[in-house]
């Protein structure tokens, strides 16, 4: 049996590959016919080839279990790519640039004059309660006034195919290495497709990241010493930390490799003695970064690194405190920010979001809780959420109580019908829901990855795409239809 598009039904939602009529979207036409021509053995062969490539490349993420500590798992990968027309993508790209620009202005404003609060656009009490606002960062001027150098925004499509921003990850977003690896696997698997279609490359990212980081060096002129700071091999994203360091030719350091001297200069311990470090791409959360400034018992961090950063002797990306804008309540204000700082309308819409801190909106949420997705402000990884339509009565009641007790900490969104794409389940294609995480680099210029990481919920009907909860990934092809 081969892939029969005839039995793949698109009903009441947007499918990335096929239209409701069952015909492929123009950008996916070549791929569709290619897949149709594959025999069962071919599909099996491709799947095995992908699995062994991933195994051999050592692409893993770490899952924590109580019995075994942490174990490496290969990240499930679906060999059918997700395709987006370049013309449509350019719109998204412009929207993301605009968004991240506004977010950086917002963060810088919060740590300085707080005009947006004074002008009553952003409520003061939200700022007061923010878990990610760092008083230690007030008045600091990071290079280029940029705080969030690397941002990963999650996009979803609703029924009608409109892209919405679901959230912005401004702390230590991960996943970009999977995007790069997925492409490598696909090029090994489907060289013909890359010959026939005009699929835009993604592999510039490491050098763009390097340039973005290098521009932050406090010692311009010299070749900067760049380090990627990782919590270590037990972190779920360690693979990515090592991968990016390797691709950039930067040092991969752990907290214990670094020391800060009394002149606030950061050094790493090398076989030659101590070497100065200029820029640190840190993949450790704020609170673990510096036991002198934050959690005193953190063994992951570097004592004194905040001093060094404030003194301008070392650049940190993302800057400490950037996470203040990575908050599901702050998210709701992004369209207002874009208007306020840039005097523009948002190109990419937010998912309509009810802020429980607002009395009226809160009552609406409570009344319609069976239709809502309720999210806590500061969790990531899909934890601590309520999916109203799928939840039991008790769970809903529990969330109503949680919301009433701590309204600032919750937002709610209507349940979207996420788009689907054909995904290999056994040797059949079935629709599965997916999202998209592009990465945005901000430095002297703003750069958006070509496409991003497509995450797919492998369980039927599920919309949870996180790797820790049964998600997988696909390669994302931005196809240029105008070049022949």
């Amino acid at each position: 049996m081969t892939i029969r598009w005839g039995s793949y039904k698109v009903k009441n939602l947007y499918d990335e590959m096929l239209r409701a009529s069952g015909r492929p979207r123009p950008a996916a036409q070549t791929l569709c016919s290619y897949l149709r021509a594959l025999k069962d053995e071919d599909i099996e062969e491709h799947k095995l080839a992908a699995e062994s490539a991933i195994h051999v490349m050592g692409v893993t993420f770490t899952v924590y279990t109580e019995e075994e500590g942490s174990i490496d798992r290969a990240w499930p990968f679906d060999i059918i790519p997700r395709i987006i027309d370049k013309k449509e993508w350019q719109q998204v790209e412009a929207g993301l640039k605009q968004r991240v620009q506004a977010l950086n202005l917002f963060i810088d404003d919060l740590y300085h004059k707080q005009d947006i609060v004074k002008d009553n656009i952003f409520p003061a009490e939200l700022l007061k309660d923010s878990k990610n606002f760092r008083p230690e960062c007030v008045g600091v001027n990071p290079p280029l006034n940029i705080w969030a150098h690397i941002c990963g925004s999650d996009l979803v499509r609703d029924k009608d195919g409109t892209f919405y921003v679901l959230e912005d990850n401004l702390r230590v977003p991960s996943g970009v290495s999977y995007m790069l690896e997925n492409r490598l696997v696909m090029k090994r698997l489907f060289p013909e497709m890359f010959d026939q279609c005009n699929i835009l490359p993604v592999d510039d990212y490491p050098s763009q990241l390097y340039d973005t980081l290098a521009a932050l060096s406090p010692r311009p002129g010299d070749q900067p010493e760049i380090a990627v700071l990782t919590p270590g091999i037990f972190n779920s994203a360690y693979f990515e930390h090592a991968y990016l360091a390797q691709q950039m030719g930067a040092e991969l350091v752990e907290g214990s490799d670094l020391i800060v001297d009394k002149n606030d200069v950061v050094y790493m311990r090398t076989i030659e003695g101590l070497t100065r470090v200029d820029v640190i791409y840190r993949r450790i959360d704020d609170l673990f970064l510096d036991p002198e400034a934050f959690q005193p018992d953190s063994v992951l961090g570097v004592p004194g690194i905040m001093r060094a950063w404030k003194a301008g002797k070392v650049a940190l990306a993302n800057a400490p405190g950037a996470g203040v804008a990575d908050d599901k309540v702050v998210y709701a204000f992004v369209p207002d920010m874009i208007k306020y700082y840039l005097d523009q309308d948002a190109i990419l819409p937010n998912v309509p979001t009810y802020k429980c801190i607002d009395k009226q909106e809160r009552e609406h949420v409570v009344e319609h809780i069976h239709e809502m997705v309720v999210k806590p402000a500061n969790e990531s990884g899909g934890y601590g959420m309520l999916i109203g339509p799928q939840a039991s009565k008790e769970e809903r009641e529990k969330f109503v109580n949680l919301i009433r007790r701590d309204p600032r900490n919750y937002v709610a969104q209507p349940m979207l019908t996420l788009s689907t794409a054909p995904t290999l389940i056994g040797n059949r294609v079935e629709p599965r829901h997916l999202d998209l995480r592009p990465f945005i680099l901000s430095g002297k210029q703003t750069i958006v990855t070509t496409g991003g990481l497509t995450r797919v919920a492998l369980r039927k009907g599920s919309t949870i795409v996180n790797s820790s909860q049964g998600g997988g990934s696909k390669d994302t092809w931005i196809v240029d239809m105008e070049v022949v």
Binding site: A242, A245, A250, R269, T270
Partner: protein, 306 residues
């Protein structure tokens, strides 16, 4: 280069070398036992002896029979010197330095680790043992070749070679020590042809047989084998060669004075000894001194760079 990274590379190389050496050792012992007359009961205990883990072995197993020793030396994860354990450690060290070593090496390391784990049971049947161990030896050799061919020969590579050669020097002395001790007692006339066989097996454990033949062009004799394995400068698994390699590596590293001094002393000790005149007891003492020398060099590297 980060101190932590240098440390990892060094240990990755040591564990890989340990893996390969252990595989060779078991292979050769299997063959040797097939050739020896049944009344010469050399058995498998010497293999455990070589790794200085006899007490630990007997805390886990009752008898040093083939099955137990092979299990202990190849698949038992409780034994830090077993092949699977050494490979685990090599892989963990490599995982830590994925950003330093060529990517194909990490891929090959995963493949090797996976094959060794998946096929581990085949080592218990004599018929499949050779293929299994050979695949491990080849796997390690592939990694060494890839490293030589694709890794920049910078400080990191020096640490790699130092780790490999110190481990090798250590293993060479261990094999000589244990094998020569079990050789001597009660060697009656009737058994003397088999003494020859055992010295051949010592050479083979170190893949040295063919090279010895080319170099010495003589009958196998104790003093020539000792000379070849300890003092030969050009044979890669000879003790002297291995520490000369460490010397070379150190010369291009910073802050090397103290360690270089230790190595020079050890080099002189090996070269100036009259091995032919050593009886078993003297040889044992001498080898002890060499091993102590290796440990001192390791400690000095550890203190200076890690």
């Amino acid at each position: 280069m980060l101190s932590r990274v240098a440390n990892k590379i060094y240990w990755m190389a040591r564990y890989l070398e340990r893996t390969e050496n252990t595989a060779r050792l078991i292979n050769v012992n299997t063959h040797l036992l097939l050739d020896l007359p049944k009344r010469v009961r050399l058995g498998w205990e010497p293999i455990v002896d070589i790794t200085s883990r006899k007490d630990y072995f007997y805390s886990l197993y009752e008898e040093a029979d083939e099955r137990s020793v092979i299990r202990f030396m190849v698949t038992d994860l409780r034994n830090p010197g077993s092949i699977l354990c050494a490979l685990n450690m090599a892989r963990e060290n490599t995982r830590n330095i994925r950003d330093i070593i060529p990517r194909e090496v990490w891929e090959q390391m995963n493949t090797l680790h996976l094959t060794a784990k998946t096929n581990a049971r085949s080592v218990q049947t004599q018929r499949h043992r050779y293929d299994y161990l050979r695949s491990i030896i080849l796997g390690v050799q592939t990694i060494s070749g890839m490293l030589a061919g694709t890794m920049t020969h910078d400080a990191g590579y020096d640490f790699l070679r130092m780790g490999r050669n110190l481990e090798r020097a250590d293993m060479t002395t261990r094999i000589i020590d244990v094998r020569s001790a079990t050789l001597l007692p009660d060697m009656s006339e009737a058994l003397s042809p088999f003494e020859n066989l055992q010295w051949v097996s010592v050479l083979k454990s170190l893949s040295a047989y063919q090279m010895y033949r080319r170099e010495m062009r003589l009958r196998i004799s104790r003093s020539d084998v000792l000379k070849f394995l300890l003092q030969e400068e050009r044979f890669p698994r000879a003790f002297y060669h291995a520490i000369c390699q460490v010397h070379n590596c150190l010369e291009s590293l910073p802050r090397n004075e103290k360690t270089l001094l230790l190595i020079t002393k050890l080099q002189q000790k090996v070269q100036h000894s009259k091995l032919g005149t050593f009886d078993q007891e003297k040889l044992h003492e001498f080898i002890d001194e060499l091993q102590l020398g290796v440990i001192k060099i390791h400690d000095s590297i550890d203190k200076t760079y890690f």
